[in-house]
Amino acid sequence: MVDFLITTVGLPPWLAWTAAAGLAAFLILNVIAGGALVFIWAERKIAARIQDRLGPTRTGGRFGWLQSLADGIKLLAKEDLMPEGADPLLFRIAPYVSFCASFCAFIALPFAFDFVGLRLNVAVFFVIAVLGLEVFGVILAGYASASKWSLFGAMREAAQVVSYEVPLGMCVVVPVMLAGSMDLVTIGEKQAGWFTNWFLFHDPFTFVIFWVYVTCAVASVNRAPFDLAEAESELVAGFHTEYSGLRWSFFFMAEYGSMFLVSALAAVLFMGGWNGPIPVAALLGLSEGTGDTAGYFVRLLGMVNLLGKATLGVLIMMWIRWTLPRLRIDQVMTTCLKYCTPIAAAMFAGAMLWQLALPGGLVAGLSRPSAHVREGWLQESGHGPAAALADPAGDMAGMGGSR
């Protein structure tokens, strides 16, 4: 896009870079904020239907479409309160810390082939690392509020997040291992084709570990049944008890942004990313790699795919929230340490052995000998420049041979 701005529009380079970065940031911000509006409305409707109610029906027509917008205006107009004993600096800064962590993680998330804010070589690692920083906002809010409810919520959150990062990391490693790259774009590309190419259906171990990932992802974004940091029946509202108005809404935007992010990450890692279950574009003879209009529309189609899968994930999280009761803190820890971690470790070992015996999945693995594949892999790595030219992703080639 920078090239386009410089050559076609004729902007000077510094302005072109700034405009490109600003546009990417603007789009991501809108995904989070717009997504939060839609998801809050959806959450109200889903909660209502599960509890045999109607939910919002009046604001903005028959289905209450404008309920979230009305809420937003109400929040803008609310008084911004701060408790007397609060630490003013930390109290003010906490919501922005949460929101920034959620926002930064979106930078490395590909929405379709080449539709990514910043294509990082270690995108998976970056997303997990940045997403883990969201807890800082919660702990700072809990501490700075000078309220026992808030502090209880924050300390629970800290214990929960530190624990669940372990199995979550193990789950994420498996698709990375199968794709041979930590680049999310490369991981998505490797799953192109029919839905049987998705890592979810790669082997039995990845199928199991996907559900472990779902559990850990729900826990890591603090959704029920793991919402101990809020726990409205015990702690009033947990870490955001003392917040009101716009600051409170920043916490909510961060929460819905993170929900969307872990769902999109699940889609890219396990469910083929922007590749639909049926490769419609490939059957029509179109390629997403080309720079012409057809390629652009294929990528748009891919983006619709990814957004659809991520939205489905968010809706499933809401379904879980309004169905299951909240766990106690010891049950949360038991789930993590006694179930998720050992299962993830065993599935990781299993997927590794499967990859050694039958690389390339069940069908492809049986049709070609494994040793040949591995040797070819090493050969390719050794001849760095040639491999880099042949493969635009070029992750395997890396620095090989260029010294």
């Binding site: 970056f126 997990i128 690392a129 702990i139 106690r328 803190i329 090493l378 070029g394 260029s402 010294r403």
Partner: protein
């Protein structure tokens, strides 16, 4: 369109100044100033939670420097290990400051002098090292085509793909950093097991009756929680369960 934009930019004198800036240097200075400023703030603050926050910001700015240099893997590592590790520090800070004697930590004058001497000595060494280089040179572009984490990971599991002899297939027998990697991981595992052993709750002979007694206790206050957290091993109860064993 094109001439219009350029002429418009030509009118504004600031635009020429902005265009002539080296953006890489500018961002480097920005991140470096943030890192140094927050590092000073860590030493200057007297509230332990604020100290932890400033430390996080300083380490985060350092991660920004790594990303600026194109070392994405090291930058993400910095975020994960150092910034993420400060989380535990923050938690301990919160637990400590729930008690009034620790809310404000003022160090004595002697400590300040000692710390100042050490800091100045280190700064002198670093400055001397920095200025002893004759000329800082820019990295020749194209040395590393596509910086990737994969060769690093391959080297850690014992395959050096970064230094192949020309034309020859990679010698799979040549060891990478597998042995040091394994030693470090075993060491960490031992440390983890030891920590879990030290921090475990003491076993009781009649857990059922203890549970009943524990459950009728009123929920502990925040201050008591901090105390429980400090000697969790002795009391054998969790900070999080509100006194329940």
């Amino acid at each position: 369109m094109t001439p219009f934009v350029t002429s418009l930019l030509g009118v504004v004198p600031a635009a020429a100044v902005v265009a002539s800036l080296n953006w890489h240097t500018l961002f480097f200075l920005l991140f470096a100033a943030l890192a140094c400023g927050f590092a000073v703030a860590v030493a200057a603050a007297d509230n332990i939670v604020r100290m932890a926050l400033y430390l996080i910001l300083s380490l985060g700015a350092t991660a920004g420097l790594f990303f600026l240099a194109g070392a994405e893997f090291v930058g993400a590592m910095q975020l994960m290990i150092y910034v993420g590790g400060t989380l535990v520090l923050l938690v301990f800070g919160v637990m400590l400051t729930a008690q009034s004697p620790f809310v404000s930590m003022r160090s004595s004058a002697g400590d300040r002098v000692l710390a100042g001497v050490a800091a100045v000595a280190l700064l002198a060494v670093l400055l001397q090292a920095a200025f002893s280089v004759e000329s800082w040179r820019r990295p020749a572009s194209g040395v590393v085509d596509q910086p990737a984490a994969t060769p690093l990971g391959m080297a850690l599991v014992g395959l050096r793909v970064d230094e192949p002899s020309a034309g020859a297939p990679v010698d799979a027998v040549r060891s990478g950093y597998l042995l040091p990697f394994e030693i470090v991981s075993i060491h960490l595992l031992v440390v983890l097991v030891g920590a879990a052993y030290l921090a475990r709750a003491k076993r009781r002979k009649t857990p059922r009756s203890i549970e009943v007694v524990a459950s009728v206790e009123p929920p502990a206050s925040v201050a008591e929680h901090a105390a429980i957290g400090r000697d969790a091993g002795r009391r054998g109860s969790s900070v999080l369960t509100g006194g329940g064993a």
